[in-house]
């Protein structure tokens, strides 16, 4: 996924945006995702709310997160692993284990 993003961005002279510009782009995409989620799971504002574009909005957040990671030289899998390892330690007794 990061490679595809890199190959795409790398075709262009402009290259990656600056980190705070990418952050603003992620904030923008999160806002669009929030709009879709609120339309489907919120106060029923749309007549015919559907999830048809929710997957794309999630994808847009992910695309911009990949841009950020790439521009900083970070590997998303390693970022995820570091985060996951934290949850495994911190939250292991936070929730109720299912009975087997």
């Amino acid at each position: 996924m990061q490679d595809r993003v890199h190959n795409w961005i790398n075709q262009f002279d402009e290259g990656y945006f600056q980190p705070l510009e990418i952050l603003a782009a992620i904030t923008e995409e999160l806002g669009e995702m929030a709009k879709e989620l609120n339309a489907v799971y919120g106060p029923k504002r749309k007549k015919a709310a559907d999830m048809s574009s929710l997957d794309q909005e999630i994808g847009d957040v992910l695309f911009n997160l990949s841009c950020l990671a790439n521009s900083l030289g970070l590997d998303l899998k390693e970022c995820f692993n570091k985060s996951f390892a934290k949850f495994e330690v911190r939250d292991k007794d936070r929730w109720t284990k299912k009975e087997l």
Copy 2:
């Protein structure tokens, strides 16, 4: 990645949060990522700003995005593909192609 998240969440009685609860969690994690980015690339507020936890904050956003996708039955790769396909069409003439 989504499988690991699922196996983790699936151990617990509580299961996934509601969509708007997960959205709030993503907003929270994005805020922590913004804090780190601003400390490193913003108005130099910290004495010794470093990127040591930026990778984890990015991972935290990704972890919660996986939770959201899982709870909605969506595949992150397909979300990404749908988003990427849109960019490939919409933005192909937006930027300056590098000279070969």
Copy 3:
């Protein structure tokens, strides 16, 4: 400001949204504000970027923040005062005092 919001919302049977729904609405509006800011101060993506709607996007965030405060029975001025008092103590030696 909060009174005007209250009089507006209070005309309708639906009343205020739930807190996490209002949060999602604020996230959505922040995203639109981010989009405008990035268009004006970011990587020059628009041909003729202007600030014509930035004021409205800021207003939209403020409107939804008022809804949240109202629905929780909080006074925005007091919220601001509490925050400001914290900055006055915490940050008073953080920045460089201007020479008189």
Copy 4:
């Protein structure tokens, strides 16, 4: 409110941050507000969740929004009025009017 923020910021050589830096700060504060809201209205994660700091988090968002408006030479009341005027037109038939 904006005057108090201006007098505060104006004491310091550093002055206002850049727009995208302030946006990142707002994103950060929104994240902290989201954390509090999720603790109180979300999946009951804290044992003794209380609203003691929610007012301050709302104030922090408002403080940073004031910084943004000030730095751009915008009046928050006018921003609000512009937003409110839009809602009054756009949403007047969106909700159910209370019976008198």
